[in-house]
């Protein structure tokens, strides 16, 4: 993946999702991102082995920006609208 931790900005919020997976991870993440302001960055720790595939797909679906992915750490910027 082209993103790297070194290029990542400071996170506005941190969430350790532990081993949550699949729909449980996605639906909780959905709510957490909606609670943030546009442009803010979430630092997510997701241990599930499906996360490296699911989180980029979720960002493509929802329009949020995956700034960095270094499993199990992900930086996601909330979309503007």
């Amino acid at each position: 993946m082209s993103e790297s931790r070194a290029e990542a900005p400071r996170a506005d919020a941190v969430w350790d999702a532990g081993d949550l997976a699949c729909g449980e991870l996605i639906l909780t993440l959905y709510g957490r991102m909606h609670a943030m302001r546009p442009g803010e960055v979430l630092r997510l720790v997701a241990l599930d082995s499906g996360a490296p595939a699911d989180l980029p797909a979720w960002c493509r679906l929802t329009g949020h920006t995956l700034l960095a992915a270094d499993h199990p750490v992900y930086l996601i910027r909330r979309k503007e609208h």
Partner: protein
């Protein structure tokens, strides 16, 4: 890309694994911004009865009741197959939140724009 997503679920206590995974996937869909509908038919219609899902808890997953509650709170809808429901003599006045009893036409209408549907 289609904006809607359907999960067709035909099991409840006869296959708690499938019932659970159906709602996990539905939560992934609604959590990805899709207008998501779970279509309950055959034995799956029993899940539309308040309290029926209580106690169903597959290892490695959240309890089914919690998955269903979260689905409803996130805006997901549940369609319940009318003839399947009637055949089992279930109670229309004891439906879980967000569930409505429908005929096949509602399912066909939901899918008629080419929306995807996965089945469990």
């Amino acid at each position: 890309m289609a904006s809607k997503f359907c999960v067709s679920l035909t099991h409840s206590k006869d296959n708690t694994d499938k019932a659970t995974v159906g709602f996990v996937v539905a939560n992934a869909a609604v959590g990805s911004g899709k207008e998501t509908m779970v279509f309950l038919s055959v034995e799956g219609v029993r899940l539309a009865q308040r309290g029926f899902a209580d106690g169903i808890h597959e290892e490695g997953f959240a309890p089914l009741r919690e998955l269903m509650d979260n689905f409803g709170k996130a805006g997901g809808t549940i369609y319940v197959c009318s003839p399947c429901f009637k055949k089992r003599k279930l109670d229309e006045n004891n439906l879980v939140a967000g569930a409505s009893i429908v005929g096949g036409a509602k399912l066909v209408e939901f899918l008629s724009d080419g929306s995807p549907c996965v089945s469990y």
